[in-house]
């Protein structure tokens, strides 16, 4: 699945997300929800993530996600070793859901599948082996 499809799915699944972009940890803009301004949004997200990474945390653990609540909207960023994904949402979003959707998108970008989504199984056309065995 290509990156644009991932972002399209994110917008479709999360009605609270207004715009989003994915950047590499090095700052290269991978994709945005709007092609024309993806570069500006991605660069801004990379700048915010980079500065947030410099803030000393309570432990030596890595920063994995952040939320900035502003008066008219919220900014969310989730990141892994390879990429950072950021989005702008409506005011007062359900933060847990937004973080979940961002991290799911990151996992799918990394090639992993969401464990909560049932995986398709192959069916060879035969009945289940256990079906009717008790009868």
């Amino acid at each position: 699945m290509d990156v644009k499809s991932l972002l399209a799915d994110l917008l479709e699944v999360s009605g609270q997300v207004e715009a989003a972009a994915i950047v590499t940890r090095a700052g290269e803009v991978v994709a945005g929800t709007d092609e024309e301004s993806a570069a500006a949004l991605g660069t801004a997200i990379h700048g915010l993530a980079g500065s947030a990474n410099d803030v000393s945390g309570p432990t030596d653990q890595a920063l994995v996600q952040l939320q900035v609540s502003l008066s008219g909207s919220c900014v969310f960023i989730a990141q892994d070793e390879q990429h950072a994904i950021g989005c702008v949402t409506v005011p007062h979003p359900t933060a847990g859901l937004v973080f979940y959707d961002l991290k799911s998108t990151l996992r799918r970008l990394a090639g992993d599948h969401d464990d909560l989504v049932p995986k398709p199984i192959e069916w060879d056309g035969a009945d289940k082996p256990d079906a009717g065995s008790d009868a």
């Binding site: 207004e18 715009a19 945005g32 929800t33 709007d34 024309e36 301004s37 993806a38 500006a40 949004l41 660069t43 801004a44 997200i45 700048g47 915010l48 500065s51 947030a52 803030v55 000393s56 945390g57 309570p58 432990t59 653990q61 890595a62 920063l63 994995v64 996600q65 952040l66 939320q67 900035v68 609540s69 502003l70 008066s71 008219g72 909207s73 900014v75 950021g86 702008v88 007062h92 973080f99």
Partner: protein
């Protein structure tokens, strides 16, 4: 005390709670979440993170251009 007064008091308390929560929810803040589950929250006037609010506004500005 009449039931009317009790009802009035409950409505007044409920309204006060509603507006207090609304004002509290409108406050700007920055939450940083780390890999071990720890989290720090900053107000806009925190010395270490003042530039992060400015950068977040840049993100919102870029997104608004996105929509325009």
């Amino acid at each position: 005390m009449s039931a009317r007064r009790v009802l009035f008091g409950l409505v007044a308390i409920g309204s006060a709670l509603f507006f207090w929560r609304k004002r509290r929810g409108d406050r700007e803040r920055l939450d940083l979440y780390y890999a071990d589950g720890s989290m720090i929250s900053f107000a806009p006037d925190a010395a270490d993170t003042a530039n992060l609010f400015s950068l977040a506004r840049d993100v919102v500005g870029a997104a608004e251009k996105n929509e325009a």
